[in-house]
Symmetry: C2
Subunit: 511 residues, 2 copies
């Protein structure tokens, strides 16, 4: 399959399946036409029926699956990720598309609300008012290096924007352009098969200046990004400095503190050590939710924990990281750890080469950690810092000093937690997701997920980039006042033809 691909637009990169060598870069002049195409697509796509939109999302999933082993092999070659991981990620990506298809087909996600007229009300009659969510318009999505499928070309951002009714312009991540082109070809096929507007998805390949030009373009209505703080914050600033600012949801990672409470540590030091070692090193530590910070009170049990953590970490062989840039940053980060006199290396796997990530765990006294905010920053890769506290007060002080986080974890018995409710409250106030006795890696795609959190974890804590609610980043409410039935959107008509949940005169109902 895939041999007779037709470009979806002039800038769509034609892929020769037998040799993906030549990927044409989009140049700055082409940005204008890309964005005009997106604008035209927006006007027709926003009013297509929900069945067709759901079919489209499902067809993308099907076409991605039809890419078969070519996709997996291409992604393996580009990202150094192992086959099993990529097969799993493809599953998540396709499930995610189908989850949004179900959401679109069911229809209640538009938050329809109806307040019926009261023409006799005094002193003034009340008009008929009806409200629902509508798409913002073209969304610029940036591929993420660490999720070449699930957070890139047809990943969560693209799926939620398309589900919202917004055209998408994907800026391919430079570390997996071939994979991105392949996935884009699957989307292009789905566009033709389901007959949605041709430019509802466009694929752009280029350097950072192309990404910036897309965000600056007046047609862009929103931006979704997953990656570094530097990259996300730069896009946020550009978007806010536009003549007409637009929302940016940038997920910029965090250190994901894990608090190890005394009784739990006492009872389960060995299994906790194994569990955390696995989480720290999973996928060469290249997850936004990697546990980069552990916080515990000094005790004999902590000594046992650290011994077993060391042992478990040493059993993990280094593997190649996603791309040389990430590996270089990681090695710079950990070399600063080795040379830091305030830090004690607890477990260090030997370096095998410049492209692989060798796991490292260091420890630091709480008082030093509190004095040095630079130690609070993420080192992306299989690294974690254990902060040793003298007592509960120090542990609380450490957590109080932390910035916004994607996740926060407590490892504790019920009795621990009862004694540390203030800690739990504090963790809840700084994180998007709080866990008890689970490791933070592993982000379930479901309605109750929050993959977000206070700045600098993201640029807007009020949204999530994983789960069905992620669609809310790309929609806005509109109120229709005094409309006759025939010109109201289906979702707001009296008969409720889609049988969706609506708030009618303040009461939830399907009637």
């Amino acid at each position: 399959m895939g041999k007779q691909l037709t470009p979806a637009c002039p800038f769509f990169v034609y892929v020769k399946m037998m040799g993906l060598q030549e990927i044409q870069l989009t140049d700055l002049q082409q940005v204008e036409s890309v964005m005009q195409n997106a604008l035209h697509a927006a006007n027709s796509y926003k009013s297509i029926g929900k069945e067709q939109k759901a079919d489209f999302l499902e067809e993308i999933a099907k076409q991605i699956e039809l890419l078969g082993n070519d996709l997996i092999q291409t992604a393996m070659a580009e990202t150094n990720l192992p086959e099993a991981r990529l097969v799993g990620e493809r599953g998540r990506t396709c499930n995610q598309l189908r989850m949004f298809a179900s959401m679109v087909r069911e229809g209640s996600w538009v938050e329809a609300s109806i307040d019926t007229a009261q023409p006799q009300r005094l002193p003034l009659p009340k008009p008929d008012l009806r409200k629902m969510l509508i798409p913002l318009g073209p969304v610029v999505v940036f591929g993420a290096s660490n999720f070449p499928l699930a957070f890139s070309t047809a990943g969560g951002d693209t799926a939620s924007a398309l589900a919202a009714g917004c055209p998408v312009i994907v800026k391919a991540h430079s570390a997996h352009r071939k994979t991105s082109v392949l996935v884009a070809s699957a989307i292009a096929k789905a566009i033709k098969i389901v007959n949605v507007p041709e430019n509802v998805f466009q694929h752009v390949v280029g350097r950072y200046d192309i990404g910036q030009a897309l965000v600056k373009h007046p047609v862009a209505q929103a931006v979704a990004f997953t990656g570094s703080f530097t990259g996300g914050k730069a896009l946020f600033d550009i978007a806010n400095q536009r003549h007409r600012p637009i929302p940016v949801f940038a997920e910029m990672g965090s250190v994901n503190p894990v608090c190890l409470l005394p009784e739990k540590l006492e009872g389960e030091a060995v299994s906790l050590a194994k569990e955390l070692a696995a989480s720290i090193t999973q996928g060469v530590g290249q997850f936004c939710t990697n546990p980069g910070l552990m916080i515990a009170i000094e005790s004999d049990a902590l000594v046992t924990f650290t011994e077993h953590l060391k042992e478990a970490i040493h059993q993990v062989a280094p593997a190649k990281m996603l791309h040389p840039g990430i590996a270089q940053s990681y090695h710079e980060g950990i070399s600063s750890v080795f040379s830091d006199e305030d830090l004690t290396v607890l477990a260090a796997v030997d370096k095998i080469d410049d492209e692989s990530g060798n796991a490292l765990v260091a420890t630091v006294p709480a008082l030093v950690f509190l004095e040095r905010p630079s130690l609070h920053q993420e080192i992306f890769g299989p690294y974690s810092l254990l902060v040793k506290c003298k007592d509960k007060a120090e542990m609380l002080a450490v957590v109080n000093a932390l910035e916004g986080q994607l996740t926060a974890t407590i490892m504790g018995t019920e009795s621990d937690i009862n004694q540390y409710t203030d800690l739990l409250n504090k963790l809840t106030s700084i994180a998007g997701r709080v866990m008890i006795n689970n490791v933070p890696t592993g982000v379930e795609v479901c309605p109750s997920m929050v993959h977000g959190g206070p700045f600098p974890a993201t640029t807007d804590a009020r949204f999530t980039s994983v789960g069905t609610s992620s669609v809310k980043r790309f929609v806005r409410p509109v109120c229709f006042q005094n409309f006759s039935q025939s010109i109201l959107p289906l979702e707001l008509q009296d008969g409720n033809p889609g049988q969706i949940w609506r708030l009618v005169d303040g009461v939830f109902s399907k009637s």
Copy 2:
């Protein structure tokens, strides 16, 4: 009543009811303590029960009503608004507080969602995940000059933030400080009576530098503003340039286009003229939803409409505007209309003094309007510009040239609307609220209201500042993973003790 008020904080201004002459200004040094007080209040207020929170909102309404005629007289003296309007606005303010109290008491607004665990799932078990909205923390609210009660001290922003569980710091509008102090005293009484944290509401009086210092302070978590573009945009920029950016919802007004379609104009020229003249001049034109722009196609009916509009406008006597600054801006605005050779004055009420707003309506050919974006801007007051189009294409071009709006209106018969669906679609794409055959002034407070819209009408089209949904500006979702029942918030416990609507494994239910 009100004679024994106790200051809610050291900066709370003590009011002598018999002479409100001396209002102490907050100085910059005091901002630090105000914000630390807010932080402490946030920690206790976020966990108070929903009944107590609802009681508090209702008690504020009661205490405002107990201020009686003193409040109305004080507001009349400060704002030049007539008694009937202020009595009505007080009613809206108190109803709004009670509406939020009902919402809080009912409880489903937290958008609780539960995904139950699947321990046997392969390849990986699914953890128990539960999500709900929690308060962001201290919110800085700026009083609005044109709504001294409904959008100021205890107005929609304050009510929605308190309902969300956020402490509020109100920066009083300089044009009605005494009114603001009185309302603040009512809130202070309610705080004592219902026994919520003392500093859950703080009142600050000062110049713009105080407002900026509040927004810059690290403790501030969100900002709500209603006023000018210059003021709102400045706060938006400050908030985004903070070390940790925070969301700003600034409602900055718009020209609220009204499209008069041919058949409607043909049939109802006289009544439309009267209706629009009343809407343009209502409250001396000092509403964010004032119809500052009318768009019509030239015809005999339009001539009839303009003649009757002129007549109706001339019958409206000028009245004092809210404060000298607004009056001065208005007179500068309309003097530029008088001196503009491209514009034709259609109806001009004689000026009586510098403080009053004399209504003015001008006309301009569509082609000129299209060439001059400065004509698209709001002149706040009883002014409207009628854009005369040659045909439907010109009308569409005019609407296409407009920026984001709070409202957009079509005056049209069913047949008109069927012929102008492209116009309706375009208006929907640029506005927060779209109306058919209603004037835009008059903003109903209910769940289906949207008082928002694309930039520059507001700084974030995804939210509204009127209606129950306005609470969403001040909350964020948190996911609780693998929590035991006893430590889950009530809203997420299996038994659903509050009997709220929840999404359970993707299905809405109360069980």
